[in-house]
Symmetry: C2
Subunit: 149 residues, 2 copies
DNA sequence: ATTGACCTTAAACTCAAGTTTAATGTTATA
DNA sequence: TATAACATTAAACTTGAGTTTAAGGTCAAT
């Protein structure tokens, strides 16, 4: 059986951030659903932790805090905002897919540079990549290399 | 035949950034190789533009400006720094591969939420995801879904 | 030689996303 | 009941990565 209630310290540990980050998110309106004790201490439920994980996922898609706040507002509205929330995730999907494509291109360039330096080190100098013939080799390399991966 | 020399405006247009960004990079020591006219105007060669593109690639791997400065310093040292530059790109490769893995996990979560909202909208309420039986369905969905993609 | 479109720098400013500090209140336990 | 280890807030501070501003110098075409 899992624990049911969490302190801010527990929540912070689960999310692997300092407690100050959780307080900052709350201050920015990301956590309006978090209840308090009479003393003012925050109480996080399992459900709150699950929502924190979704907020973390949105952050990792590159969504700025202000837009995540919109999502939290929609959460407060319940079923009336299902469509908006759905469209938000559809857009995040498109964005992340674009990021993946971009990241693959970056990886191709990094891999090319690895090969560039391997061959330069073997030759003892970068000059081997300066002549026209070698440039042709580079292109041939790139063409083959990218289809091989 | 391509143009041989570029102004800061040309370079900025080629890199799709404002000229202020190029000046900022120069101020931070990223562009020690860029020559000047007697008047002080920067002159970018084809090679400089190629190096700018590599700097842009490094930036897109998440490398901070201060570490890119190290790369520029190594460039100035010529063949003596081939090994260091090679190791730098090997590390960037590992980092980008990790980013790709992480991004795939994020996409899995986003896809799960898309399904979550599709089904909630069809049912007219999110409550369908609250009962224990439905939670089991979620898990089954996730298991099947991720192997299907 | 004047005009407009360029270029230069230093320094101040912006922005997001936190982090730190200070002053104070609460809870668990020995 | 004292004390340690938590918690609270507001406000100031930090960091990275630029952008903007101000004051001025240069270039190309008329």
């Amino acid at each position: 059986m899992e624990k049911e209630k969490y302190t801010i310290k527990d929540a912070a540990k689960l999310m692997d951030v300092p407690t100050s980050t959780i307080r900052y998110y709350d201050k920015e309106g990301l956590l309006p659903f978090v209840e308090r004790m009479e003393s003012g201490y925050r109480i996080f439920t399992e459900k709150d932790i699950a929502t924190l994980r979704i907020i973390d996922c949105l952050k990792k898609t590159g969504m700025p805090i202000k837009e995540i706040r919109q999502f939290s507002d929609w959460l407060e509205q319940g079923d009336a905002s299902l469509q908006q929330r759905y469209e938000m995730f559809l857009e995040r999907k498109r964005i992340v897919e674009k990021q993946m494509t971009e990241l693959q291109k970056i990886l191709d360039t990094v891999n090319y540079k690895c090969w560039y330096y391997e061959t330069a080190i073997a030759a003892g100098t970068e000059k081997i990549h300066h002549s026209n013939e070698e440039k042709v080799s580079d292109n041939l390399y790139l063409e083959n290399y990218q289809s091989k991966i």
